[in-house]
Symmetry: none
Subunit: 417 residues, 2 copies
């Protein structure tokens, strides 16, 4: 039985703690280590302060086999990672002639000369191996102590990624033989987490010991993550496949995918598969539905276009909704949204027309039609379907969930074909 | 002299450690605490495992005055934060009748009944105060022990933000008197960071000691953050005002705001101020421009509507662009985008018409018109302006920067009125 290999990630930088920089580095590193079967046990972000950096490294050394540090390697005074590591490993400094030569060449290419701050980048602790930095001036540092590995990399994402891909990941892969770890996502839409969990309780309780389940809830989507770990990759893949099949049998109508794509991409793929086109009449979603569809490269194959007639007279004059319909039922009504979907389908020459009309909030609600009331419709050559929702989120979320609810209508329509 | 108040943030969730979910919560919380003068000392992300959660809380209690925890409050078995906190604070559980009533009401509104998993959300440790959750089913928990505060919130960003804004931040502001810390944002658009920094070098070097400067670069926007700290609020405000005035004198034409609003909100406010309305014809931006404008509550006052004519025959038949224009110049051309802006203005009865046409990529580029080529236009009753861009980002970023470039055209037009 192989033992688990644990990593701890340390991000260093005041700008992360002050909320000025979003730390995407540790997110990316986590995903890459996960692919190797190395488990990230903890992530820590600390300030550019010697004492807390040293404390974080000492704590990590207790917890983890591999410690990956990002940040604090710049040339200026507030960057402390290198002196801290020299102190921690009790190492003298030296000037690395190869790094210095590369720095000189890098500056010469830009017609500049090295200043003292820059040439200081070639000064390194004797106890580390240099990790090459193709995209920047700060070399990475690889330390080893009592079978533990510590690597320090710059915080600039492109530099860090280069070092990880060029040096760190290949080296870790060589060193550690990790247990096999396979993740399988099963993405559902249109069913609340608690109801899904209730439906799946028996299935969850009968999962084989190699598989762990996690619910990852979003706005109107719940992702199920199955993680299989063990020794035998083929066996684990078979186990996962069997469980995914059981899920399809039990809650298949809510499942929209088992891979990377989002709901809009799934809908795009379904439209393409059936050779169909779509057009949108958006009122309350204000362009967001169109944006989701056109975010996919190649969407012009199935996306015809949209109209956002925010005002009633535009719904009437441009889209062709009858004025009586709006007068008698209001703009947020089943009758109006039906006409919107049917008219946009014809006007844009699409196979499928979809429409939204609702009150996204926070203002505009009434007792009869409170904020969150959304009518959506889908029209094709045979029929027009509608659905009424009552969302209870903030404006941004109401708009997002409304747009995704339309996409789910399309998905269900096309999945049953 | 007031003492510094320290916070530690703990994010709980395997999905963050596995690189499946990017932790944006702790980034947002950091920024909000910073505005109150509360310093985030450390951020930690740990797994959904009892022992490491308890360890993280115990460590945080040593380091910080305030501990804010996100995640692990869902209704399913893998959510462990609540039982961990009950154990940590050695607290019995009870059913909170008010939370239960709210849950029932929330479900009744959607025509559903509570199941056992949902009603379990009303079960809470006796030693906590309930933090109200408007947008979800998991209540937050506020604990106090030896003058330290610990608050547990859900990981869903909209729910966490609501609790922070409604309860946590106002309460922390009342409790703690921190040194005066004033942030002043100065937001620029359309000038690269390095050029801006060069123009501002002398100004930066002459900043008074109370003021610290940070460059926060975005896609085509650079935010300057001035942070004044000291004892005397009025004095600091005067210092900041003087520096902002200097900035306006030096780089005023790039500055679009000094407050919270984004560029679309700024444009909305300008349209409202001048009593003008806008309509959009979007090709390459595919609805994103409309989405940015309609994300603002109350946008119907100035936003008329949009058309997304993704295909050339729709640009001709629906929008009214002359077929010769497209035949002779192509859809991505100055002549086409001019007609698009002028036609959408008339068709939607708006004061201002804007249009985009370009190649967002990654496919569709040619030697003459590579990926990233974007034409934008702005038409009003007097004239039509155009601008050509050559962006070099991925599809999503090209679309976003194109939409924001149109907004910047409108801003400049209206700012000079």
């Amino acid at each position: 039985m192989q033992k688990n290999i644990y990593a701890e990630l340390i991000s260093i930088g005041d700008e992360i703690l002050y909320g000025q920089t979003l730390d995407t580095n540790s997110h990316w590193i986590s995903g890459e280590l996960d692919k190797l079967g190395i488990r990230v046990k903890r992530k820590v972000t600390v300030a550019d302060t010697e004492s807390v950096i040293l404390e974080a490294i000492a704590e990590a050394e207790v917890n983890a086999d591999i410690i990956l540090i990002t940040g604090g390697l710049g040339p200026t005074k507030d960057d402390l990672t290198k002196p801290c590591l020299a102190k921690y490993f009790n190492s003298e400094m030296y000037v690395d002639q190869q790094v210095l030569a590369e720095l000189k060449e890098r500056f010469a290419r830009r017609g500049r000369e090295l200043n003292a701050l820059n040439s200081g980048q070639a000064e390194l602790p004797k106890k580390c191996k240099v990790v090459h930095n193709k995209y920047g001036t700060a070399p990475g540092m690889w330390f080893e102590k009592d079978e533990k590995i510590l690597v320090s990399m710059p915080g600039v994402p492109s530099e860090m990624k280069y070092m990880m891909e060029d040096t760190v990941l290949p080296e870790l892969k060589k060193r550690f033989s990790t247990p096999v770890l396979i993740h399988q996502m099963v993405k559902t839409v249109g069913i609340p987490e608690s109801i899904l969990a209730e439906k799946l309780e028996d299935w969850e309780n009968s999962l084989p010991g190699e598989i762990k389940l996690a619910y990852l809830p979003g706005l109107n989507q719940v992702k199920l993550r199955l993680t299989a770990s063990g020794e035998d990759k083929v066996h684990l893949q078979q186990l996962l496949e069997a469980e995914v099949n059981k899920l399809y049998k039990q809650v298949g109508k809510y499942i929209y995918g088992t891979d990377e794509g989002n709901l809009a991409q799934k809908v795009g793929a379904l439209l393409k598969k059936h050779g169909l086109t779509i057009a949108c009449a958006e009122s309350c979603t204000g362009g967001h539905l169109s944006q989701l569809l056109t975010a996919n490269s190649g969407s012009s194959e199935y996306y015809r276009g949209s109209i956002v007639p925010y005002h009633n007279e535009l719904k009437i004059n441009l889209l062709g909704v009858k004025s009586e319909t709006i007068e008698q039922n209001g703009a947020v009504s089943e009758a109006t949204v039906i006409e919107m979907a049917e008219k946009v389908r014809k006007l844009f020459g699409a196979d499928i027309g979809v429409a939204t009309s609702g009150i996204a909030g926070p203002t505009g609600g009434t007792e009869e039609k409170p904020v969150g009331t959304v009518w959506v419709a889908l029209a094709d050559e045979h029929e027009t379907q509608t659905k009424l929702f009552n969302f209870s989120f903030d404006r941004e979320s109401n708009i997002d969930i409304a747009a995704n609810s339309v996409l789910n209508l399309v998905r269900k329509k096309l999945s049953s074909k």
